[in-house]
């Protein structure tokens, strides 16, 4: 190489950025300086991580995953970690005009200067924002065009369980829990730099490919058959694993992060602090990717929860604490946790909340406890499926009677608004399944008015189209078309409005079917879909999670043109049902779930059979614990919260 090796200085871009900030909307989101943010001297660290949430600051800042890694990494004296978020088009335009690259909000350093760029994908709709950020950073969007001075782009988050659509753009994907994986990745980068970067980028990536949980797409070749399906995925080096397994953090009490949550000045989507009370879920809802890929259940103990709540409140000044998990009422000691936290904070202005998901009378009891002396406004339940039949298909069984009884109890206890979450377009679904949502809502209002003696109670039905996800029993399913979704939403709306006396107490919130189709393409796509993503971005597509920026026509146009040469199309990726032995793009990525078990569960879904939760009916059939060497970690511990000593 004749050109001199570029030295990263980590110099602050703020003086160049500041004049631009006076010209954009909500400039506060770009200045950093949040409570509990950290800025270390550049030279103090051996390894520099930029951590990105590929959406707007207001959405990305509260993200727990990113906040945890930011803190875990910065605790190491040899590491510096800073955050970066997607920049709105008004600022992005000014940055291009003035030659200001993608920057971190902490030290306002160029993302180009960092050793690693970790990107957390909670949803596939952030892919175009990754390309935009790379381009703004001056990092080639294609992996093959990068040299050893460019940051290594690491994808994480749930979408990383099928990173194939972004395989051309990300150097690695880290599967599963990140707390320990980021440390291992750091060590590899540190050693390689200390040795004088032997073998360049290729060697670094080969070393990273041998880190447990790290997948490096470039070392795996994909070939396709005449029918468009994958013929084979083969390693191109024999020193990388054939299948890459996910990472699992055991003993959550050992990982009480974030200890000092970030508190933004700007308004964000969650104006509260969150404490993760357990990770994983084995309820077995067949549509739920999170519940499948985060197994097994690992609880934080009641004392662990208590100290995180207390420390976090002290560190932030927040007024509200959310007890977070995939199904919080399922914590083995939740009753005691709720009661004792409510006791502890009874005299303060601190409020506690539980993101309710299951329809269960116990959830109302918990919510009552947590709102003992506060306002009772909204309570949320997620039956997900409209009819008892479809709820058996998705394995989220609750009878209509129980559902109505639970919601009625909520109204009778002073809750005035109940929100019910549903999906439409579920496998085997018909119009009748969806129309039952209207019947249910009407009955809930009728019974609720009677039980509470009030006319002003409300029920909001929130409904969106189902998107089949990798590593779930529905990964083989045909996704409903946008037309089907929109038709079902139309008939549902008509049914709800049929009786105005009841209908005026029912609100309907829905998303049309189009964005779901694109999410479906990106969720179950393979490497060929990368060209579609790149084309959409080049044509101006970004912020695809925002209806005012999302363009369905642009995606459809790009898919048609870019996929034509491969003999596949948008429908092939979305509405096509897969066959049992088709090689799926993510088969070489191991979530621990046994593919045969997933297939059997898919067949049982079609015959409307339920499956039990392994927390209460021991079963190792899904395969996760034996494959990953993990175990369910649940209480009860028998411990309790002690009164806090006055400081």
């Amino acid at each position: 190489m004749t050109a001199e090796l570029r030295t990263a200085t980590g110099e602050s871009l703020y003086p160049r950025l500041e004049p631009l900030l006076a010209q954009v909307q909500k400039p506060i989101q770009y200045v950093g300086g949040e409570l509990n943010a950290q800025v270390k001297p550049w030279e103090s660290a051996d390894v520099h991580w930029a951590l990105m949430y590929p959406d707007a600051y207001e959405v990305g800042l509260p993200n727990q995953g990113l906040m945890i890694l930011y803190e875990v990494l910065n605790e190491r004296p040899d590491v510096l970690a800073e955050r970066t978020y997607a920049v709105w088009p008004d600022l992005a335009g000014l940055m291009r005009e003035n030659g200001v690259p993608q920057f971190t909000v902490d030290g306002h350093r160029s993302v180009r200067d960092f050793d690693l760029l970790g990107v957390s994908f909670a949803t596939e709709l952030g892919y175009t924002n990754l390309l935009e950020a790379l381009d703004l950073a001056g990092v080639p969007v294609h992996v093959v065009d990068r040299d050893e001075t460019h940051p290594v782009v690491v994808a994480g988050g749930h979408a990383a369980f099928n990173p194939e659509p972004v395989a051309d753009f990300v150097d690695c994907a880290a599967l599963g829990d990140g707390e320990q994986a980021v440390g291992d990745i750091t060590d590899v980068v540190k050693a390689w730099k200390a040795q004088g970067r032997p073998g360049g980028r290729e060697e670094l990536l080969a070393r990273l490919a041998r880190v447990d949980g790290v997948y490096v797409p470039r070392f795996y070749a994909v070939t396709y058959g005449a029918d468009g399906t994958i013929a084979a995925v083969t390693r191109t080096r024999d020193d990388v694993p054939e299948r890459v397994g996910k990472r699992t953090v055991m003993d959550l009490d050992e990982w009480p992060y974030p200890k000092t949550p970030l508190v933004p000045l700007a308004e964000s989507v969650h104006e509260r602090m969150s404490v993760e009370i357990f990770r994983g879920c084995t309820r077995g809802c067949r549509f739920c990717q999170a519940g499948m890929i985060t197994r097994p259940v690992r609880e934080r103990t009641i004392t662990g929860i208590g100290s995180m709540v207390e420390q976090g409140l002290k560190a932030t000044g927040y007024e509200e604490v959310g007890l977070l998990s995939l199904s919080s009422a399922d914590h083995s000691e939740i009753g005691q946790v709720a009661k004792e936290l409510a006791d502890r904070y009874e005299d303060s202005k601190v409020s506690l909340s539980l993101p309710s998901t299951r329809v269960d009378a116990f959830n109302v009891t918990l919510a009552n406890e947590l709102s003992r002396n506060g306002r009772r406004s909204g309570l949320t339940f997620a039956p997900e499926g409209g009819s008892e039949r479809i709820r058996r298909v998705i394995n989220k069984t609750v009878s209509k009677e129980d559902l109505v009884r639970t919601v009625t109890t909520a109204y009778a206890n002073g809750w005035t608004q109940v929100k019910l979450y549903f999906m439409c377009g579920l496998p085997t679904e018909t119009d009748e399944d969806v129309l039952e949502i209207a019947e249910l809502a009407v009955e809930v209002i009728r019974a609720g008015r009677e039980a509470s003696g009030r006319k002003d109670i409300r029920c909001t039905v929130s409904i969106g189209g189902f998107v089949p996800k990798p590593h779930t029993p529905f990964q083989w399913a045909s996704q409903a078309s946008a037309e089907t979704i929109d038709h079902r939403l139309r008939v549902l709306r008509q049914a709800i409005n049929a009786d105005r006396r009841i209908g005026r107490s029912i609100g309907l919130r829905y998303h049309d079917g189009k964005p779901g189709v694109i999410e479906g393409l990106l969720s179950r796509g393979d490497r060929r879909v990368g060209r579609v993503i790149e084309r959409v971005w080049r044509e101006g597509g970004k912020f695809d999670g925002w209806s005012e920026h999302f363009s369905y026509d642009r995606w459809v146009g790009a898919a048609t043109e870019e996929l034509a040469g491969f003999g596949v199309d948008l429908d092939w990726y979305t509405t096509r049902e897969r066959t049992q032995h088709e090689i799926l793009p993510w088969d070489h990525l191991d979530s621990g779930l046994d593919k045969e078990w997933l297939w059997d569960d898919w067949q049982e879904a079609l015959s409307e059979e339920e499956v039990a939760d392994c927390r209460w009916t021991p079963c190792y059939d899904c395969g996760v614990c034996p494959t990953m060497g993990t175990e369910i970690q649940i209480g009860p511990t028998g411990r309790s919260l002690l009164p806090l000593t006055v400081v």
Partner: protein, 255 residues
Amino acid sequence: MARQPDGPPPPPTVQKLRIRYAKRGRLRFASHRDLARALERSLRRAQVPMAFSAGFSPHPKISYIGAAPTGSASEAEYLEIGVAIRCEPEAVRAALDAALPEDIAVLECVEAGQGTGSLADRIDTSVWRVELPGVSLAELQPAVEQFLASDVVTVAKRTKNGLKDIDARPAVASASAAEEAGCAILHMVVRQVTPAVRPDDVLAALAAVADLRPPSPPRAVREAQGRLDDTGTVADPLGPDREARSSVQEEHATV
């Protein structure tokens, strides 16, 4: 029947504290709402014994007086808080200052003097200092003179209901040009009128009368707020509280 909170109503306000604070550096980009959220959280972290309103969603007793626009720094923002337990004002100042981000500084905290009237009534004018990078004194000076010599200077102001024409001239009590390190500085005293005339509006007025167009965005700092008297002086709005305090102390001393 709607539920009512159990228990007695919250304790009443026993003392009012008036606070001057600054927003500086990067936090000039914070909006009033951003600052209000940060202040409320910091009052909790600083364990200031706030008085609260009654009801299911009690609010801490805080009144904000005016607010410098997003993008402007300020050395003179004011707010008043009500506390349920008497506090030493200096202790509150120090605790709140420590709990706030570095670029927000709590400069003064005084107890509201009995019978001295409301703080809002003591503020009707802002003193501004605007740095104009890339503009020389030779360019700014004549523009300011032309502006002051005009009776009416109409500028378009962005409001909630779209662009609206306002006259920027009458609100400006005085203005002068200076220079520091090669950068022109605009000093001005601006009355707080409705619709508000902000530094941006005066700069738009300079563009209108003298075609002064700074190559990069100017930086405005509100240096003081208070009541404008006939001599053109802006009085310290916390002055009456301080006087009331020292006369109370003198009375005690003579007993």
